[in-house]
Amino acid sequence: MIHGIAEKAIAVFSWVLTLALCLSVAFFLGYLFFRGFPSLGKELIFGQADPLKAVMGSIRVFEGIFPAIVGTICLVVLSATLALPVGVCSGIYLAEYAGPGMKKLLGMLFDILAGIPSIVIGLFGFSLAVFLHNHFSDHFGPCLLISALSLAVLVLPYIVRSTQTSLEELPVSIRKTALALGASKLQNTVYVLIPNALSGISSGIFLAIGRCAEDTAVILLTGVVATAGVPSSLLSQYEALPFFIYYISNQYSNQAELSRGYGACLILLGICAALFLLAYGMKKHLSYRTLYRA
């Protein structure tokens, strides 16, 4: 009897907490939408500039957040491009090829890396920029490439661990199926294990994309500035939405400016959602293309 009541109480408690969590997210998004929606529009993104000309790059946008949007997208894509191959390959190595000792050692190193505060990673990026500037070329300095590299280091553990875990958690029946049919270890990994683990791997990638898009501490030290325009090369400084939001929330002089910050938040969320959808679409496409296409 008491056992039954306790079980019911736990179920109700869990349900209430889940509901509270969902409501909190809904309230948060609603509030953001309420504050930011009025400022959404052509003017927020392009200011007084002609949108077509701005997109074509023939004129520079001074008052809008278009350069920050482009900078953020460049940053996320570049960081993901740098981190994904290394992270996924390391995860595969740890799950499928590493011996117990190596697995333990590398696992511990990646866990330590995951625990390093982002500002420290930013400092590492800044030191790297200074080192390159002093020893190689004056062209090097805090820039888009250094920021992307630092962010890649920041998100690497998520990708490695999610890849490793999702491969290791595959049922033995899936592991053995292709091997028993004469697949080599590599064929089994590429055609069966990775496609089957793709959901888990992509969770890590989603997390990494989100982290790349939102992190401010790293980019603060490695190349982001308030006014740089659309980045012209990997070695140029750039603008980014998280920094714009941080900057305007500290420096706003009236409610209209703050409202632009909320608008930028909505756009940042939109970019993250779009990148998630893109990654999800790629996952489905990849899964279809790679799954068992020996």
């Binding site: 053995k176 292709a178 091997l179 028993a180 049919l181 004469g182 064929q187 799954l291 020996a294």
Partner: protein
């Protein structure tokens, strides 16, 4: 008769870490026969099968000593000596698991998968081999009109026959069956039994089974694995 022998175990022992699972096993298995292996659970029956196609290699901490010889074509190979590449060995010494394990794709792709792994690209040859294997596994008539449908939609018995057909498509010389009917109902199990008996003409079968009735129906020879040793009944 040396020429009729297909598989020879010569003092084979198997260990998981320090734990001895099989102790100095000597046995011979003749070609085109069905040998049933029975015995209590946890005695190492599945492990014994896994020694023949080296699936034990995938288990961390496992170790095997002694000699296993398998006659493939006219040549004897010794898997423990690694004198044959693993993929090649596993194509010739195929394995059917307790739970049917079709891959999440169409019936046609499931069947063609092992052939493509083996590097076969000729579409018409693949189709011919797939059809022959499905006929051999008593499944062709049931699936010929839905080859592009998902294999996961088949019934339990059909899935197991698909897995047997998928193994047969590689034309194995030895078929290892690890309790192939234990997850099926009596009717589906009966069809599989009939199928296994018919396959004797093409390959040598080792079947692990708990069901003594089934063993009596299909096996030419019955052996029991108990106290780390393999003995004929």
């Amino acid at each position: 008769m040396e020429t009729k022998d297909k598989i020879i175990f010569n003092g084979v022992s198997f260990f998981y870490g320090r734990n001895r699972v099989l102790d100095t096993i000597y046995a011979k298995f003749q070609e085109h026969t069905i040998t049933a292996i029975t015995g209590p659970s946890g005695q190492g029956k599945s492990t014994l099968l896994g020694l023949l196609n080296c699936m034990w290699n995938e288990i961390p901490g496992a170790r095997c000593t002694g000699e296993i010889r398998i006659r493939l074509g006219n040549d004897w190979v010794s898997p423990l000596e690694k004198d044959i590449p693993l993929p090649l060995l596993r194509r010739k010494v195929a394995m059917i698991f307790q739970e049917p394990n079709p891959l999440p794709m169409s019936i046609a792709k499931n069947m063609a998968f092992p052939l493509k792994l083996a590097g076969m690209r000729d579409k018409s040859l693949i189709e011919e081999k797939v059809r022959n294997a499905l006929v051999q596994a008593f499944l062709w008539e049931e699936v010929r009109d839905r080859m592009e449908k998902s294999a996961l939609d088949l019934s339990g018995g059909q899935k197991q026959r698909l897995c047997i057909a998928r193994a047969l498509v590689l034309e194995p010389e030895v078929l290892l069956c690890d309790e192939p009917t234990s997850s099926l109902d009596a009717r589906a199990g009966g069809i599989i039994e009939e199928l296994l008996v018919s396959l004797k003409a093409h390959c040598t079968l080792l079947v692990v089974s708990h069901y003594m009735d089934q063993v009596r129906r299909i096996a030419d020879r019955v052996m029991t694995l108990q106290d780390q040793g393999l003995r004929p009944i």
